[in-house]
Amino acid sequence: MRSERVGLIARKELLDTLRDRRTLFVALILPLLLYPALLLGLTQVIGATKRNLQEEKQRVLVDGLDADPELAEALEEGLELKTLDNAAEMRATLRIIADSIADVDEDTPAEDIDEWRREMRGTLAQNDVVGVLFARLEGGAEVPAARNEAMLLFDATNDESRAARRKVRAALHEYSERERERAKELYSDQRPLLEFMVHPIDVSTVEVASSQQKGAYSFAPMLALLIVLMCLTGAFYPAVDLVAGEKERGTMETLLVAPVTRTDIVLGKFLAVWVVAVVTALLNLGVMGLTFSKLAGMMPGSGIAFTMPAGALAAVTLILIPTAALFAAVALAASSFATSYKEGQHYLSPIFLVVMPLAMVAMLPNVELGPTLALVPVANVVLLVKAMLLGGEGARWALVAILAMAFYAALALWVTVSLFKRESVLFRSGAGKGHDATSLEAKRLGLPTESQGVLVFFVVLAFMFFLSGGTLPTDLWGVAKIFLISQVVAVLLPTLLAARFMKVDLKRTFRIAPLAPAAVPAIMCGALSTLVLVVGAQMRLMPAPEAEGFTQVVGMLAKAPVAVMLLLLAVLPPVCEELLCRGFLLSSLKTRFGAVRAVALTALLFGLLHLDASRIPATAAAGVVLGTVAILTRSIFGSILFHSVYNAVLALALHFPDLARGLENLGGIAFALAGVGLTLSLWFLHRLARPSESDGDSIAPPVP
């Protein structure tokens, strides 16, 4: 039977595919873990930088509204109206230009029109407005033969100007409707006259954007997005061939026995991939530029043209060079994990998953390159490309963006070089995975490895993401449910399951060890001091904007019984978060990176775990102290106590407004005292830890 054979083959192929664990992980599981992390990051960044154009008031130059204060009022709701003394004069000039544009025919040279438009744009910029509304109102409905006119000057390639134009049009529309209604009432017995009332106002719009600008506005986002993706693919495939392909073909070993260092090899490969990526990006830039200009030319009457000015070309090239370097390094790092070309190709999807949303920022309206976005890799590239083609404020941040990309590229290259020095990465095939000393050490001690730690962190992040959201709680039980779910289900459960599944030594991993009674007062003093320092710094440096839901939850907690509130804030999160961060994560990172770097990394992850970019510095700072306490006391109870005291004071501040005010208005003396308090506490804990220092982090030498 044919169908039976087909089914047989299909079953075997499925089995084969499912056995390819690494590919499955990369193609199916990794995205599941990455999506939430990405989305969270992106919404944070864009949320912080995207301006709400509907709520913001754009400045528009107006003239001739005196006759109808009601219209002016309607406009003022969404706009800032600016009037000028010499309005009449300017109006006359602009009118002439606008009329010439309106009257153009096929014989009018395009340069003339663009020149006129440039002049108008200049006037707009001079007056610091995004649009102009000139009205001539002879009278409302009560003047039957009045000729009312409105002339709008707006820039279709400027998002602010477009928003303002929408608002002006809406107001004018409202005005027309109003006058029409009034006319109906006024002349209900004289029907014929209504004829005159049908057009209470004639609106004409003059576009001040040049054909060039319109072309850039239409094509720049696509060009920016494509150029980044092309640069990535340009780097990726050669990288996979030069690393995974070499391993597959057996030439990697040939190269490794030559008297060159691994760094030489990575740098050589990196240079080659970089060159290919730069050339790919520049070729694509050139071809796309030509295609778009041809496309614009093929649409006569659209008033669109597309060329790339030399300055823009130079800036785009300048940022593409570090971009290509970043992609080259990342692609080399990724492909070093693959054993074959085929496997290496699968690694493109997670990279794409990270790069794509960042590059998609190009498509978002009214997101401009600014001090924050200039630091976000890839997003800064597309925004710079856009800014260079469109002009605008963003171009001012070009240098920051270029330097940021150069920094990321250098960082990625450094990581890649260190990756290549690991045996397990170079010999993925063969009898067993080469295991370096640190991972073996971790295994022997029954601790998780650093990659297991990072994996668990991402799983927790994914859980938090998928379990969060939903409707805002309406009662205390709703609030309690949020805490229980986010702490127990999202943080504690994956951590414990992972520990069980990875067969780590629970006592060692989670630092379950008695806490010296003498440490208790020191920890409490340290927690209070840290709180004062962190809250004080947060208040002064970057007050966190409070989210809608957050305020509501806080309001309800403040009204809850103190015991319940303390349970939800000062017991539940400290226990769950400490077991994850100072337990599993810190243990997993410590063997590889050493105590100091592990504490710093854990603190950073701890900050990220709070899903709020504005709170990362404060949480991470507290995390550093928490990690130090965990290391010094060698007990998870040390950091849980610390965390509890810290959270308890914050919780009580909700309940007792006086305490909150006190925390908000701390002075210099309080900071000084807190600094001394923290130093003394840590010093005391250090002293306390010393006597049995020889056996390391409370871990007796293992019996192999």
């Binding site: 057996g250 030439t251 026995v257 008297p259 060159v260 045996e423 009898a431 991972s439 073996l440």
Partner: protein, 251 residues
């Protein structure tokens, strides 16, 4: 000269969480002008041992030196004194034999002129001129192996490592390789050769170590080692040792 002292290499066991000693306390010395044979079944630890000598793997315990250079401390110097050829060391299919050999000659520090002379010498020696400009991807297995051999000795190293060099070659090509290896000995090089083919050992080796599950079961000059053999040949010695080893293990 190759010296290995107490070499061990621990991997993570692919079948579980435990560790796996691929090489376990291996000690031996290879003298110049002699061929040292490393005989063992698949998975005995031959390749791992040779990779440690070639500096591509770092030993978990013990130390080794190539031509007086420590493989960990002076890895680059050790590599310069070393030619490494395996049945699986690939060649660049998109390069021609000449480009391939010149590339490695330059990596080993020869200048352009020296490398051109040396390439021609090697092509004479191995009779490779005919296909010197054909991309390696289009060559037959025998031609490819010649490219590999030329690549191995382009810098004329004092120490040579051959890891199962005749695996997957037909008899004709295998004979070229065997002749090539014995020629290296005749020119005073230190040669170490791993194989699971008994006849190769008898034909080529001066010294012998039998490796099983990462440990050396017997070693010494071939005739001395064979003196203990019940049948007087490598094969019966080999099975005898492995049987003993299994019996010991089950006790």
């Amino acid at each position: 000269m190759i010296v290995a002292e107490g070499l061990s290499k621990i991997f993570q066991d692919p079948r579980g969480g435990g560790e796996f000693r691929a090489v376990d306390n291996v000690t031996f010395t290879c003298e110049p002008g002699r061929i040292f044979g490393l005989l063992g079944p698949n998975g005995a630890g031959k390749t791992t041992t040779l990779r440690i000598l070639a500096t591509t793997l770092v030993p978990t315990e013990g130390r080794a030196s190539i031509h007086g250079h420590d493989v960990v401390e002076e890895a680059t110097l050790a590599r310069s004194s070393l030619g490494f050829c395996t049945g699986t060391t690939g060649i660049y299919e998109r390069l021609t034999p000449r480009e391939m050999v010149v590339y490695f000659g330059r990596l080993y520090g020869l200048d352009n002129e020296a490398v051109a002379t040396r390439t021609n010498e090697l092509f004479d020696l191995l009779d490779m001129h005919e296909f010197a400009e054909t991309p390696c991807g289009r060559l037959s297995a025998g031609m490819k192996q010649k490219v590999s051999l030329a690549r191995t000795i382009v810098h004329d190293p004092p120490v040579l490592i051959f890891d199962e060099p005749t695996t997957s070659l037909d008899v004709l090509v295998a004979r070229t390789v065997v002749e090539f290896i014995s020629d290296c000995r005749d020119r005073g090089r230190t040669v170490i050769l791993s194989t699971h083919i008994m006849s190769e050992v008898e034909k080529l080796c001066d010294d012998l170590a039998i490796l099983h599950k990462g440990r050396i079961l017997a070693q010494g000059p071939v005739d001395e080692v064979l003196a203990d053999s019940p049948g007087g040949d490598v094969e019966s010695l080999f099975f005898n040792l492995i049987d003993q080893c299994e019996v010991n293990a089950s006790d």
